[in-house]
């Protein structure tokens, strides 16, 4: 070795530890990528910009609610505002795929659909979107998960899945 002082001394055990650490992270990252690309566990991607002061002008949010686009395929347009969701309740048959589009009229909100993989930050000016398939009948609460003012704790709605 040319200059002993320029190379770092690394203990054997430490070397093993470093290799294990790197391998572990590679495996984890691989698993996450596979889940995202092969199993479709997606995170939100930009869809549309809107003006929170005039949501009617956006077209899609002029009349919030559920729209059937094909048999058992729905789009749900939901407006979050202090301290409620509009609409508060939607009903779909079991086996439906619902694509949610959510935006805010005022401050930031959250949209977490319990017992599903739908969890989104709702930011004024943006539209958050994720899709989910409802296999089992029942009631699924969607709750506001971002602090939005004094009555934040009361802000929720539900999806009713009928057989």
């Amino acid at each position: 070795m040319a200059n002993k002082h320029e190379s770092m001394h690394i203990d054997t055990y430490e070397k093993t530890w470093i290799i294990i650490s790197i391998l572990m992270l590679i495996v984890f990252f691989g698993a996450v990528t596979v889940a995202g690309l092969s199993f479709g566990v997606r995170v939100p991607d930009p869809v549309q910009r809107v003006d929170p002061r005039d949501l009617a002008a956006s077209g899609t949010f002029a009349e919030p609610g559920l729209k059937e686009v094909a048999p058992k395929r729905y789009e749900a347009y939901i407006v979050a505002q202090t301290w409620s969701f509009n609409p508060r309740e939607i009903t779909v048959p079991a086996g439906s795929v619902v694509k949610f589009y959510v935006t805010s009229k005022d401050v930031q909100h959250g949209f977490k659909l319990q017992n599903t993989n739908v969890n989104m930050q709702i930011v004024p000016g943006q539209v958050s979107s994720l899709a989910v398939k409802f296999d089992k009948p029942g009631e699924y609460d969607f709750i506001c998960t971002e602090y939005c003012g004094i009555a934040h704790a009361t802000m929720y709605g539900k999806v009713i899945v009928v057989p």
Partner: protein, 553 residues
């Protein structure tokens, strides 16, 4: 290598002591509200009955809790601790004491300016202050002054270091000074995001000079700072684990080179990871989220290095104390020393915090936990235990060092540390579980209409954990106050700086050169943030006016 103790002047010690005074004052008030929140979850609401009208709402309390603990306790403690590490490490006074004093008093002015609107319930926006929810302008100005004050203290360190370097061109920078400088430089790069958000957007907007904001862009600015902020908290704790704990436990630092290498990696990787707080944001493309996910995994790596080196150093200590066998050395660590105990227990809980952090960072797995009670469950293991309990442990030797007086009631300090560990274990575990079941964070769950029966037991444990932490916090405050009135120590406290197993001078020179690492950090930032940040600025729509009448006043 014998170290003759370098003496700090009484003035320098007082200066550091004032940092600690404000830090401890902040946590003694900010810490009070945490247990109130936890007990609210369990159904015991003190806000309505007791705290009103002095403290107006759950969210005023939560804002105080976040701001005073996560921003004030940490920043004041850290700048004070780093001041000590710079002076003692370089064995020379600050080049311009007045400059550091200016920075410090600016922080105090900032703290006061931000505190007034919070206490009037005019700034109940929590410590992330997401727009377009608007706080009183004084809140934003106050937070800005705290950050700028900490920058000025940092500039004072750089100038002092420059003077030392000119006189010692070939000597390795003493490790505690080196690590302090890396922490400060990282912090100054990291806070550029919040500076942009506050100076360009929030302050003019809150003063009515700007009609609207783009909240998505401000989230991106905020999280540029928001994640490295946690490394600003953690690195000083790591300094103590690397450079003090081995000596306190009776051993030596296992690897000087690896310790420095890990700090350089933190400088490189702490900042370009902010999108992992924005995985579920609508305005950030999936691809960029993936890039930051990978970079976040990379920043986990230096923490793994730290885990190895710290545990190896402790093993070295335990064996030096006569510990034998595979695990026998563990029993030989000085568990009855409150300073050591605090750091050991902090490290144990940090192990679980680290695992949780890796889960949060995992792109789509984050969908399960984002904005649930899991998240505060997680960061109460990291910032509120790994960091806070370590800082308490540091104070248990530093207060006697600064005052020259004995620590009051060492037994109380030991019990205090155990109670923190136990309280946090109960609290954090319950928060993680109830979060996985779907409970949102930042929510007075006692009032929420959608709580299923099965959460009740966990919410009860949240309250119990909070109550134990309340006792522990005030035992800590009692020990600190008591220690001001004890008798003088016969022998001065020697700061327990650990020697390295290998002479630090054998550490390769590339680990003591700033330029390559700073250039690397800049390049990585440009790659990770540049395109998306420019895109968000170019396409920004400033359509969100301030929204204020939602704090329940």
């Amino acid at each position: 290598m014998t170290t003759n103790i370098y003496q700090l002047t009484a003035k320098e010690k007082r200066f550091i002591g004032w940092h600690f005074f404000f830090a401890i004052f902040a946590i003694s008030l900010g810490g009070l509200f945490g247990p109130f929140q936890a007990m609210e979850h369990a159904g015991w609401d003190f806000y309505e009955k007791w705290l009103n009208p002095l403290f107006h709402s759950y969210y005023e309390g939560l804002t105080l809790h976040g701001v005073l603990n996560a921003l004030i306790w940490t920043t004041f403690f850290i700048t004070g601790f780093l001041t000590f590490l710079m002076i003692y490490g370089l064995k020379r006074p600050l080049k311009y004491f007045w400059l550091n004093a200016l920075g410090f008093w600016l922080m105090v002015v900032g703290l006061t300016t931000a505190a007034i609107p919070i206490l009037m319930n005019e700034a109940s926006v929590l410590y992330t202050f997401y727009p377009p929810m608007k706080a009183h302008w004084a809140f934003y100005v106050g937070v800005t002054l705290v950050v700028v004050g900490s920058w000025i203290e940092g500039w004072g360190f750089y100038i002092t270091y420059y003077g030392w370097r000119k006189e010692h061109p070939r000597t390795r920078t003493p490790i505690i000074a080196f690590m302090s400088l890396v922490t400060m430089v990282m912090w100054q790069i990291a806070t550029l995001g919040a500076a942009a958000e506050l100076l360009v957007d929030l302050i003019p907007w809150s003063l009515g000079l700007k009609a609207g904001l783009d909240p998505q862009l401000d989230r991106t600015y905020f999280w540029w700072t928001g994640h490295p902020l946690v490394y600003f908290w953690l690195l000083p704790a790591y300094i103590s684990w690397y450079a003090f704990l081995p000596r306190q436990a009776g051993g030596k630092l296992f690897s000087d080179s690896l310790a420095r290498f890990s700090f350089w990696l933190f400088l490189l990787l702490s900042v370009p990871v902010g999108f992992h707080h924005q995985y579920v944001d609508p305005g950030v493309p999936e691809g960029w989220k993936m890039v930051h996910s990978l970079l976040t995994y990379s920043v986990f790596f230096p923490s793994m290095l730290t885990a190895f080196t710290v545990v190896a150093s402790l093993e070295n200590a335990g064996r030096a104390n006569g510990g034998k066998g595979l695990m026998g050395w563990l029993a030989k660590l000085p568990w009855n020393d409150p300073s050591v105990l605090a750091q050991l227990l902090a490290g144990i809980l940090y192990f679980f915090g680290g695992i949780g952090g890796l889960i949060n960072a995992s792109y789509n797995i984050n969908l399960v936990v984002h904005n649930t009670a899991w998240v505060p469950g997680h960061f109460h293991l990291t910032v509120s235990t790994a960091v806070t309990l370590t800082f308490m442990g540091i104070l248990y030797w530093m207060i006697p060092y600064l005052t020259g007086k004995e620590l009051w009631c060492k037994k109380c300090a030991v019990i205090q540390v155990w109670l923190w560990f136990i309280g946090m274990t109960i609290f954090s575990n319950a928060m993680h579980v109830v979060g996985l079941l779907g409970a949102p964070r930042r929510t007075p769950l006692g009032q929420a209409p959608y709580i299923p029966e099965e959460w009740a037991g966990h919410l009860f444990r949240v309250g119990i954990g909070g109550f134990i932490l309340l006792i522990s916090l005030y035992m800590f405050v009692a020990v600190v106050i008591g220690s001001l009135f004890t008798k003088k120590l016969e022998k001065e406290v020697e700061p327990p700086v650990a020697e390295s197993l290998l002479d630090p001078q054998t550490t390769p020179r590339w680990l003591d050169h700033w330029a390559p690492w700073l250039i690397g950090a800049t390049i990585l930032l440009i790659i990770a943030y540049g395109p998306q940040l420019i895109y968000q600025i170019q396409t920004a729509q400033f359509t969100s006016p301030p929204i204020t009448n939602i704090f329940g006043n």
